[in-house]
Structure formats: structure tokens, C-alpha cells
């Protein structure tokens, strides 16, 4: 032990140290149990590991809409916590046992850099497709057809989550009441639906002539539209947005328009007219729904999903289309 202390003092005097670089991608942050270190999305943080007293537990905290997947493997085995046995977060890193391993102990005296890099994944929905096709002719009732192992129906959540009680095939939905309370799938009336795969909460349209009525249409570009400073905006949907926020609709007061990819998550391509799960989203017109995404095609167009077919397309911002509000986060 005395010998180790001498070595340690020598190391400190040389100011050499092994470095731990924490690289945090978009989608979350890293915090430590001690509170000493916090590394936010998009940041790279460096920690000196100089002695046998280092002991920290790192937790990967995903942002809204993301989940922690794994610690990234880096070249030459330099990704900490990336081994199969320790891929989970939180991950504890301590050096007290390095004394018994000359190779590890030697690292403390070098300028070697190791990495701690979380991988955050944003879950997205499957297509809903559970049927196969023959080549050129024939839609089959089940997952059979030409080179079937390569067709959509053979892969993804739709192939592994066949229970329809929470939504068609791989979709998983929960009905919510007007104050946000979760309701059973058998509930006869509900105001919103939570997508359990993506975590997003969606407005359910009504047929009562009110603010949420299925027949209300809007030109593009009210509040929460994306594309800062990009040309034409019409504030038509602000009444729906402001009204929903003021009413704390389904318990939330920060509703917004979905991005084009978020909106496409609702498309159920196993059906058409409309291409959506009607058991959870009744009163859905077979028509276009605006997203918040502007189109780079030209400054007067924006993206929408046509729920007649389930396709994404762009159109002039002056067109009157439907909208479905989304909420994410707490």
C-alpha cells in the first residue's frame, strides 16, 4: 500500500492522467450520482481519472421521445460500459480495483482517452401492414406471398405484437379522458390517445361542431409551425391551439402541430380511407392533415399526410386542410 501511495504521488506530480471523455448526442444527457458531473445533449465533457479513489455512477437520461439503448462501443475497446455484461444505465466506474491489475493501473499514468457515449433511440411505429402480396397480382389475407420473408409483414412490431386490444397489430394506444386520466380500451368516449410506442399524446377529433370537430379545416402556419422566418403564414389554427391550451385539454397546456414524421407515425398502411386505426381515432376524415413542417420545395408550401392513403406530400400553404394536435413531454 505504501508503494502504491508513492506511485500515486509521483503520478500527480507529473500531472499525467487517464481521461474519460463523455460524448452526449442529441436525445438526452448524462448525470452522476454524486452530482459532480452533468453533460448535456450535444456536449463533450472530459474528466481526469488520476487515482484509485475515482468512483462515479453515470446515468443516461433520455429526453422526451427518446429512450436509452446502450453505451456505444468504440474502437479498440475504449468504450466504457459497452461490454455486454454492463450495457445498462446507470453504469458505475471505479478505480479501486485497478491496483490489482498492473495494466489498468498503468493507464492512470498515461494520457490515454477512454469514452463514455450513450446511444439514445427515438422509437417509431411500424406500418401496420400484416398482409403480403403476390408479384403483379393478388393481395393476400395473411402474411403470404412472393419472397415473403422480405416483405413488410414479416418484420417489426406488427409481426411480434399481434394483440389488437391496444390498437391494430404493432400499434399500442391508450385512451385518455378530457382531464388526461387513462381509460380502458373499452371506454365509449375519450378525448385523446397516448401512443405507447412513441410516447406522444394525440387529439381525438369529434363530431359536435366544436373546436375539435373533424370538419374544421385551416390554412398552414399558425402557432408552433416550424421554419423560422420562412415566408407565408396563416394563423388559422391558433383558435384550436389556444383553446386547447386554455382548457388544459387532456391535462396539457402546451399542445403543438406534429412534424411530418410524427404525423406519419399514425398512418396505418394496412388499410385506407382512412389509413388510421379507427378503433382509437374515429371521426378521421379521409383527407389531408397539416404537419408543422415547411417544405424546402418552395417558400409557400408545407408538408401534410393524406389519411385517405397514408402518404406524405407537400402543398400550397393556402390550402384548407385538417390538423391533429400532438403533445410530448411532461
Amino acid at each position: 500500500m505504501a508503494a502504491r501511495r508513492i506511485v500515486l504521488v509521483t503520478l500527480l506530480s507529473l500531472l499525467a492522467s487517464c481521461k474519460l471523455q463523455i460524448i452526449v448526442p442529441i436525445g438526452g444527457s448524462i448525470i452522476t450520482a454524486s452530482g459532480t458531473y452533468t453533460c448535456l445533449a450535444g456536449q463533450t465533457c472530459e474528466i481526469d481519472v488520476v487515482d484509485l479513489l475515482f468512483d462515479e455512477t453515470f446515468t443516461a437520461v433520455p429526453d422526451d421521445g427518446y429512450r436509452f439503448d446502450q453505451w456505444k462501443k468504440k474502437q479498440s475497446g475504449r468504450g466504457f460500459c459497452a461490454t455486454v455484461s454492463a450495457r445498462h444505465s446507470p453504469c458505475r466506474l471505479y478505480t479501486s480495483f485497478f491496483g490489482g491489475w498492473p495494466n489498468l493501473f498503468a493507464f492512470l499514468a498515461t494520457d490515454e482517452v477512454f469514452y463514455l457515449e450513450p446511444v439514445f433511440i427515438r422509437p417509431f411505429n411500424d406500418t401496420g401492414i400484416i398482409f403480403g402480396q403476390n408479384y403483379l397480382d393478388g393481395n393476400n389475407a395473411d402474411c403470404t406471398g412472393v419472397t415473403i420473408e422480405q416483405q413488410d409483414c414479416s418484420h417489426g412490431r406488427d409481426a411480434t405484437h399481434k394483440d389488437d386490444s391496444d390498437g391494430h397489430a404493432g400499434f399500442s394506444y391508450t385512451k385518455l379522458g378530457s382531464t388526461g386520466a387513462a381509460l380502458p380500451a373499452s371506454a365509449a368516449s375519450w378525448s385523446c390517445v397516448r401512443d405507447n410506442v412513441t410516447g406522444w399524446v394525440w387529439e381525438v377529433k369529434t363530431d359536435d361542431g366544436g373546436n375539435h370537430d373533424k370538419d374544421n379545416t385551416y390554412r398552414w402556419g399558425g402557432k408552433t409551425a416550424l421554419g423560422a422566418g420562412v415566408d407565408t403564414y396563416y394563423p388559422d389554427w391558433d383558435t384550436l391551439l389556444d383553446g386547447s391550451n386554455a382548457a388544459s385539454f387532456c391535462g396539457y397546456s402546451s399542445w403543438r402541430l406534429p412534424t411530418i414524421k410524427e404525423l406519419e407515425a399514425l398512418a396505418n398502411l394496412n388499410r385506407y380511407s382512412p389509413a388510421i386505426d379507427m378503433a382509437f381515432f374515429p371521426a378521421t376524415p379521409s383527407a389531408g392533415f397539416w404537419s408543422a413542417s415547411p417544405s424546402a420545395n418552395d417558400s409557400n408550401s408545407a408538408w401534410y399526410v393524406n389519411f385517405d392513403w397514408g402518404n406524405a406530400n407537400d402543398d400550397d400553404r393556402g390550402s384548407y386542410r385538417h390538423v391533429r394536435l400532438v403533445h410530448s413531454g411532461q
Binding site: 427518446y66 439514445f120 417509431f124 398482409f131 419472397t147 389509413a275 406530400n313 407537400d314
Partner: protein, 173 residues
């Protein structure tokens, strides 16, 4: 101003095959942030890239091309049947579980910030600014499957016999 779908249908009716040069136009980051930023990808240096936010591994090059800038080899278009069979036969980077992507997977690499090649060209160099088959059949009609037009970024569907490019995907373990 015609939208992309109208232009596409018009081109099909006229029997025209649109040929697009790489003249990508994009919003600036402050106007509209990238939906598939380079930082979200890991290039494995063996013809494959992983999209960290979806966990999907993609072929870096359109099927038929290879090399670090995807300029080697000969790229050809495929019918839907040929696309399915080509995916099944691929052993790119020694993986045997390549697939033709489904419609939502294929759309996950559409770059919303751009037009006239709606894909991140730093990650997918020399990408064809055209139609790519998905593995998703179309429910309404028989003999029709979905594709993504990476020129405009729209999704649409067409006859199985139509010839289109393919980009393979695999689910990582």
C-alpha cells in the same frame, strides 16, 4: 405552383423519366433544423452506417454502388420482385440479414431540411435523387407497392413492374 405529387403523376402520364442532377437546396439550420444530421450517424467504414436515433443499420450506397464515395460499381433499377430478391441475397459487410426497408423505415432517412435530393448526402454520398422501393405492399390495389421519391421526399405507390432504386437496411441486434 404544382405540388410534388402532381408533378410526379404528370411525369408518369407523359412517360417521362425525370433525370435530376445533384442540385440540393436546403433551409439553413436557423430556418429549419436538419431532421437527419450527420452527428446522428455512425459510419462503420465498411459500406454500412448506423442511424443512432432509430438503431437501424443502412447500406451507405444505393444498391450496386460501392466505395467510400459510392462511385464504384454499376447501379441498376429493380422491379419489386427483383428488389425483394436482391435484398435477400445481399451479404454486404458479411451480414446476411439485409432487408428491403418498410415504408416508415425508408421515410426515417428523408431529410426534411432539403429539396431536390431529400437525403443527407454526407452520409449517403452519390445517392440517386429518385424513387426507392419499400417492402410495404399497398392495401387498396393489387400488384402495387409503396416507394419514397428522394427527389422531393414524398411517398407514393406504383405497379410492381416499375423499376426503382433500392437501399438496404437491417435491424441491429
Amino acid at each position: 405552383m404544382k405540388n410534388h405529387l402532381q408533378k410526379l403523376i404528370l411525369a408518369c402520364l407523359l412517360g417521362a423519366v425525370p433525370v435530376h442532377g445533384v442540385a440540393q437546396t436546403c433551409f439553413t439550420e436557423s430556418e429549419m433544423p436538419s431532421s437527419t444530421p450527420t452527428a446522428h450517424f455512425t459510419d462503420h467504414g465498411n459500406g454500412t452506417v448506423t442511424h443512432d436515433t432509430t438503431g437501424l443499420m443502412w447500406a451507405k450506397c444505393v444498391q450496386g454502388a460501392s466505395g467510400s464515395d459510392c462511385t464504384t460499381g454499376s447501379v441498376s433499377k429493380h422491379t419489386w420482385q427483383q428488389a425483394l430478391d436482391t435484398a435477400a441475397a445481399s451479404t454486404l459487410a458479411a451480414y446476411a440479414d439485409w432487408r428491403l426497408p418498410n415504408m416508415k423505415e425508408l421515410r426515417s432517412i428523408v431529410e426534411e431540411q432539403c429539396d431536390a435530393t431529400t437525403i443527407n448526402l454526407a452520409i449517403f454520398p452519390n445517392a440517386r435523387s429518385s424513387h426507392y422501393w419499400s417492402a410495404s405492399p399497398y392495401a387498396r390495389f393489387t400488384g402495387v407497392a409503396w416507394f419514397v421519391d428522394f427527389y422531393s421526399g414524398i411517398s407514393f405507390f406504383t405497379d410492381h413492374g416499375s423499376s426503382k432504386y433500392i437501399r438496404l437496411v437491417r435491424s441491429q441486434p
